[in-house]
Every structure is written in structure tokens, then in C-alpha cells.
């Protein structure tokens, strides 16, 4: 459990984090989102006692970070910025962290194998790729088998196999009842990983809600239908007070109705449906709508903006659903 209470950080006149209050609960993966410069990293650094808050308070299991005895056994963190001495071998890096917290040496080899770096344990990280450095950082976070884990942009530099692995690892850690707090810029990745979201913009809390309701509140949801008798279906829908619209390639889209209701309706009228799928916008789209005002560096082009997403993937299908397939449909 991580609790923030009115957490504020100012650098001179610039306020990086502005009266932030929220809690990160155990048992779920909580995503931490925000545009660049929103204050995510500063917030995470304050959680770890690296930066001193200007005002407010952040507590780990009820304590300030520097009151934790052997903190690695309570909270493990992977920060976005590199935190490894390139001249010390991977194993020795972990060893000195382990020793400072009374973690047995055998655990060092265990986590090295766990992250897949067993074969380069004796190599110095100065020659590591970004992905290998990231794995070493993850190993350090897991060292004390902590109940709270914090990952800042964990997939940075990882290849697809690594991305898949860390995603499942985070979910698994949460399912064991741990608190998992992850920041990322990759919305499609977050949609697959997080169940709960904390969104900040310009240092302020914008949302603290479940993934589902976040998408629901910040984007359009509708039901897509296909039927061999589209005209009859349309009539039935209109007669029931719904407003069907034309979708791509002969599909019918109905906003503001549950799939259940339409299914029952079709059954009553002995109508055959070839598709009855509730559609939800992507997390990216929802995020863009919410944070449109708080982005620092806007690119200027005549390209479609955040309000006009290229695709509106169905729920749980954000990945692998390119506009190409979208057009192909069924």
C-alpha cells in the first residue's frame, strides 16, 4: 500500500507535482499515466525518498521511506533513469544491494536467472543493451521479494519476448496480493496490464479509477451488428427507440444500448445476427481526450488529432487490431 497525501514538489516557481492525493492498493496492477512533464517521475522519486516533497506526505505501508528498515524487503523499484554502475558486474551490483539489506547471496543468483541474465552475471553492464540493463534493474527490484513493486517504463528497450514476460510478471505479482505500480507511455501495453489507473497532468490528479470505467467515461462505446437482413434489423431497432447508424462495410452501429438488450430484441423478432459485439474505444483514445489540455510539446501537422482515432478497437482487443483488419471486418 502506497499513500499520497497532498504531495507537492516545486522547483523554484515551477510546480512539478501539485497536491497529489491517492492510494495504490495491493492485489491489482495500477497504471500510472500522464503526458511528458506531468510529474510522474518526480512523484515516483518522492515515493522512494530520493526527492524531498515541498509539502505533503507519501507513506509506504504507513511509514516514510527512510523509516523503513531494509527497504528492499518492503518495496522494489525500477526507475526509468539508469541506476547501475557500468564498471561493476551484474552479479556484484546485485550483491552489494543485497548485502546492505541482509538478503542472502543465493537470492542474487536466483533473481539473475529469473530475469534471464544468468549467462552474463559476470559481465559488466557497460556493455549491456538497453533491454539487458532493464532486466538487471528488474532483478534489483525483485531482490528482496518485496510486497510493493514500482516500475517506471518497464518495457523500455525490451524485445517482444521481454515485454510479454514483464507484463505477465507484473500481473502475477499483483495476483499474489502485492502492490504493483507501473508508469508507462504505451497505452496499448497498459491496457493489457493494468486494472486500475491513476492519471496525472501538469502535476495534478486527473483520474483515479478502474481501467474499465476510465475508458467508459472518456470515450464512445457502442454495439456493432451484422445481419443477413440489415433492413429488418434496422426497423426493429428504430421501433424500439434506438438510433442505429451506418458502420463500416455494412455493419450497423448502435450507441447507448447494451448488447444484451439487442440480443433479446433480435431473438424476439426471430432475427439472425452474424455479429453482436460491444465496442469500446482504446485506452489511448480515452487518455488523449482526458489529457488533451495538458500536453507540453505538441507536434504541428495536418494529421488527425487525438479526437479522431484511426481505429476503435473492441474491448480487450486493442492489440493486433490494426485499421487494416478493421476495414476487412467480417
Amino acid at each position: 500500500m502506497i499513500e499520497l497525501e497532498g504531495l507537492t514538489k516545486r522547483y523554484g516557481t515551477k510546480t512539478a507535482v501539485d497536491r497529489l492525493s491517492f492510494g495504490v492498493r495491493p492485489g491489482v496492477v495500477t497504471g500510472f499515466l500522464g503526458p511528458n512533464g506531468a510529474g510522474k517521475s518526480t512523484t515516483m522519486r518522492m515515493m522512494l525518498g530520493l526527492d524531498r516533497p515541498t509539502a505533503g506526505d507519501v507513506r509506504i505501508d504507513g511509514k516514510h521511506y527512510d523509516q523503513l528498515k531494509d527497504p528492499l524487503n518492503h518495496i522494489g523499484a525500477l526507475l526509468e533513469a539508469k541506476s547501475i554502475h557500468g564498471g561493476r558486474t551484474a552479479r556484484n551490483h546485485l550483491l552489494c544491494l543485497a548485502q546492505s539489506n541482509g538478503i542472502p547471496t543465493r537470492r542474487v543468483d536466483e533473481v539473475l536467472d529469473l530475469v534471464g541474465l544468468g549467462s552474463v552475471a559476470k559481465k559488466r553492464p557497460s556493455g549491456f543493451s538497453l533491454g539487458m540493463g532493464q532486466r538487471l534493474g528488474i532483478a534489483a527490484a525483485l531482490l528482496g521479494d518485496p510486497r510493493i513493486l514500482m516500475f517506471d517504463e518497464p518495457v523500455n528497450g525490451l524485445d517482444p519476448e521481454g515485454i510479454h514476460w514483464i507484463r505477465n510478471l507484473m500481473k502475477h505479482l499483483a495476483s499474489e496480493g502485492r502492490t504493483v505500480f507501473v508508469s508507462s507511455h504505451l497505452m496499448s501495453e497498459m491496457a493489457l496490464t493494468a486494472e486500475h489507473l491513476v492519471v496525472i497532468g501538469r502535476g495534478r490528479l486527473l483520474a483515479d479509477t478502474t481501467m474499465e470505467s476510465f475508458i467508459e467515461e472518456n470515450s464512445r462505446t457502442y454495439v456493432r451488428l451484422r445481419a443477413p437482413e440489415p433492413e429488418r434489423l434496422r426497423d426493429v431497432l428504430v421501433a424500439d427507440g434506438l438510433a442505429p447508424t451506418e458502420g463500416a462495410e455494412g455493419a450497423i452501429e448502435v450507441e447507448g444500448a447494451q448488447a444484451v438488450r439487442i440480443g433479446e430484441l433480435a431473438a424476439e423478432h426471430r432475427l439472425v445476427l452474424h455479429e453482436l459485439s460491444p465496442q469500446q474505444a482504446s485506452l489511448e483514445e480515452a487518455f488523449m481526450r482526458l489529457t488533451a489540455q495538458t500536453v507540453e510539446y505538441h507536434a504541428h501537422t495536418a494529421l488527425p488529432g487525438p479526437g479522431e482515432p484511426a481505429a476503435a478497437p473492441p474491448p480487450g482487443q486493442q492489440q493486433g487490431w490494426g485499421p487494416q483488419q478493421q476495414k476487412e471486418g467480417f
Binding site: 492485489g27 511528458n36 517482444p160 519476448e161 507511455h185 504505451l186 445476427l273 507536434a299 480487450g316 483488419q325
Partner: protein
């Protein structure tokens, strides 16, 4: 147009790229995929003349990069965002590049605006964030308005707004008839951006086909179905009806079902005949990631394993038990595969609970099932009329993955 013929690069006795032949055509975004160390960057470096091939050639519009007249006007590349002198301002950096390639300085301000760095154009790039550096690199690539563009991991460090922007930028560049080659590790991003894919593993070509074909070849889609909750007999009736037609009905965590082996209209008709009402009937494509994982399984360098925690004390009290079922878990069932020693319940080997009861599955990195050898013929239908032999979500077999990349080919 980029064309590689028998491209090979060796460093000592290590071969980074071996006999690679492919074409990158104009007008579409071509994704360049492969695990770490598969030779993607080396190939890109050879394309822009930074590395000399050991054998074979790679040409841009018919000529090797080094022989291109005014190459900077023909090829723009974002290879390493840090190839910028930190002491120079963003504008000065681009001005240097512009002068080198004979681009008018007015173009510099143009590209600075395009990438959204107008406000910091006169600041030294030393203080730039990774994302800002990336934007500066992209500005450099666009400077000569080149018909061929290469991007190596372009979304690195960008925030969601930047990711959306670069994605649309690449699509627009392709739609203008340019050749766009982009490498990335982010499958979900690639699925949204690329039309065509070139996949390499251990320096060799694994696939060169459209995204759609790639997914169809390497994985299987399914349909998601929900039936009324107040009629407990319906699932069984539906299962029987579907089974007769060669389909399978598998329960999902949220009370819905997954149907494999049948097309949507067939499912609809069968349900109708069996007098089962449907509350949902949605098509689900397999993801690009899933397809990719299956293809490259054998070609991964650093593979993660199990956390045994054997050297530590048992978990402190206050930790909920391991059987803790998460709520709202992604419904498409990318859950935990059961470890080899613990086959999941159910004949299909599909892990029904998503989370296996043991502390950690055996191979978290290879969560996707192994394809049945010779399994998936190319098909237009998202899933075959009947492929009961395939087990799309089977528990992984230890030791098997290495041979799978061949099997998948």
C-alpha cells in the same frame, strides 16, 4: 524502394546478418521486427552506409547508399537519438545537417515546427528528455524531404501524444508514396502502424508478408459468445450444437465463452437451431504479438525463468493466498499458462483460471501454445472451418520451442 540481396554481415566468427534478401516497397509502412540481437540495427546501419556488408548488397532506389548522389535528400534515417552534439542547440544541429546536404535553412524551421520543438529550438539539446531528443532525430530525418525513410524504435521515450503523432506521421509519409521502414519491439504499436512486415531472427529472414497474412499464418482467431445468465442449460445446449459442427466452446473468466473452429454466421445459425439466445457474438483476431511470439520462439537470446524464491523465507503474513483471482482480468485470456508439470484442467489444455495454482508458471516468456506442425494453412477466413487438431492455447512443452520456428515456417 530498399532492396537487400544476399545481405550478410559477420563480426569475426559471429554472423549478425546472414543471406538476407527483401524489398521494402513505397506507399506502405513496412515494419521491421525481430528479437534483440537478431540483426535489425545492423541491417539498418548497412542500409544507410554506416556498416559495410561482408557479402551481398543493399540498395536504396537502385544504388548502394554510398554511391547515391546527395544521399541526404534521398534517405532520411532516425537510427540513434543520441547522435546529437549536446552543446549545440536544436536549431544549430539541424542547420549543420542542412548545410551538409544543401537544404535551405528555411526548411530547418519548417521541420522544427513539424516535430513540435519550436519553443525549445534555441536550447541546447543536452537538457533534452529522451522524447525531445527523439523528436529532434525525427526532424533530422525529415530535413531533406526524402522519399525513403528509416526509423529505428521511433516511439522510444515519446509520451502517448507523441506516439500517436509519430504513428500518424509515418502513415502519412507512406500515403504520400514514400518508402517507410520502421523497426520496433512494440507489437501493439506495429499492429496499428505497419501494413507490411519483415521479420528476422538470428540474422535470417523469417517472414516477409502483410500484417494480415502474418497474423493469419501464425495464430488463430476465435469468436466470443455470451448467453443469457438466467438460462443455465444454454451453455450445454450450445456446446453440443457447436461440437456437432466441429466447433469448441471454452468458458472464459467473465462468464462468456470462446468458440473456436467455426465462423460467426455458422455460430449464429447453430445457436438459433438449438434455441439459444446470444447476448454477444464478437469476432476476435489473434494479436500481432501472439503471432510474432509463435514465429520467433527459437530465436530469443535472453529468456526469463521462474522465481523460485527458494533462498528466501516464505512470504510474510498478510499476503492473500495465491489462488487470488484478479477481477477485470483481460478477457482475451492472455493469462498465465499452466506450467508443464501442471496441465490445466480441461482437455484442451487451455488454462481456465488464467492463473495456475503454483506460485509461478514454468515459462512465463513462452506463454503461447506451440503450433501443431504444419498446422495453419494460409486462409482468408479469420479461422478455419475446422481445425480441431490445433491447440491455440496449449500449455507449452519444455524444450520444444527451439524447433518451433522451423515448424512455423
Amino acid at each position: 524502394m530498399i532492396e537487400a540481396v544476399g545481405l550478410t554481415k559477420s563480426y569475426g566468427d559471429k554472423t549478425a546478418v546472414y543471406q538476407l534478401s527483401f524489398q521494402v516497397r513505397p506507399g506502405v509502412v513496412t515494419g521491421f521486427l525481430g528479437p534483440n540481437g537478431s540483426g535489425k540495427s545492423t541491417t539498418m546501419r548497412m542500409t544507410v552506409g554506416l556498416d559495410e556488408p561482408t557479402a551481398g548488397t543493399v540498395t536504396v532506389n537502385g544504388l548502394p547508399y554510398r554511391r547515391l548522389p546527395n544521399a541526404a535528400r534521398q534517405v532520411g534515417a532516425l537510427l540513434d537519438a543520441k547522435a546529437v552534439h549536446g552543446g549545440r542547440s536544436a536549431r544549430e544541429h539541424l542547420l549543420c545537417l542542412a548545410q551538409l546536404s544543401g537544404v535551405p535553412s528555411s526548411r530547418v524551421d519548417e521541420v522544427i515546427d513539424v516535430v513540435g520543438l519550436g519553443e525549445v529550438a534555441h536550447k541546447r539539446s543536452k537538457g533534452f528528455s529522451l522524447g525531445m531528443g527523439q523528436r529532434l532525430g525525427i526532424a533530422g530525418a525529415l530535413l531533406g524531404d526524402p522519399p525513403v525513410l528509416l526509423f529505428d524504435e521511433p516511439v522510444n521515450g515519446l509520451d502517448p501524444e507523441g506516439i500517436l503523432w509519430i504513428r500518424n506521421l509515418m502513415k502519412q509519409l507512406a500515403s504520400e508514396g514514400r518508402t517507410v521502414l520502421v523497426s520496433s519491439h512494440l507489437m501493439s504499436e506495429m499492429a496499428l502502424t505497419a501494413d507490411h512486415l519483415i521479420v528476422i531472427g538470428r540474422g535470417q529472414l523469417l517472414a516477409d508478408m502483410s500484417v494480415k497474412d502474418f497474423i493469419a499464418h501464425n495464430s488463430q482467431g476465435y469468436a466470443r459468445v455470451r448467453v443469457p445468465e438466467d438460462r443455465p442449460d444454454d451453455p450445454e445446449k450450445l456446446r453440443t450444437a457447436l461440437a456437432r459442427a466441429g466447433g469448441q466452446l471454452l468458458p472464459e473468466e467473465d462468464g462468456g465463452f470462446r468458440v473456436t473452429g467455426l465462423a460467426l454466421p455458422q455460430i449464429s445459425d447453430l445457436a438459433h437451431e438449438a434455441d439459444v439466445r446470444l447476448w454477444e457474438l464478437s469476432p476476435h483476431h489473434a494479436s500481432l504479438e501472439e503471432a510474432y511470439m509463435q514465429m520467433t520462439q527459437g530465436a530469443v537470446d535472453y529468456r526469463a525463468t521462474v522465481d523460485t524464491r527458494s533462498s528466501l523465507q516464505p512470504l510474510p503474513q498478510g499476503m492473500p493466498g495465491q489462488g487470488h483471482a484478479p477481477q477485470g482480468h483481460a478477457p482475451q485470456g492472455h493469462g498465465y499458462p499452466a506450467g508443464p508439470g501442471h496441465p490445466a484442467p480441461g482437455a484442451q489444455g487451455y488454462p481456465q483460471q488464467g492463473y495456475a495454482p503454483q506460485p509461478m508458471p514454468q515459462q512465463p516468456g513462452t506463454g503461447y501454445g506451440t503450433p501443431a506442425p504444419g498446422g495453419h494453412p494460409p486462409q482468408q477466413q479469420p479461422w478455419p472451418g475446422g481445425a480441431p487438431g490445433t491447440q491455440p492455447y496449449a500449455a507449452p512443452t519444455p524444450g520444444a520451442p527451439t524447433s518451433d520456428s522451423e515448424a512455423a515456417r
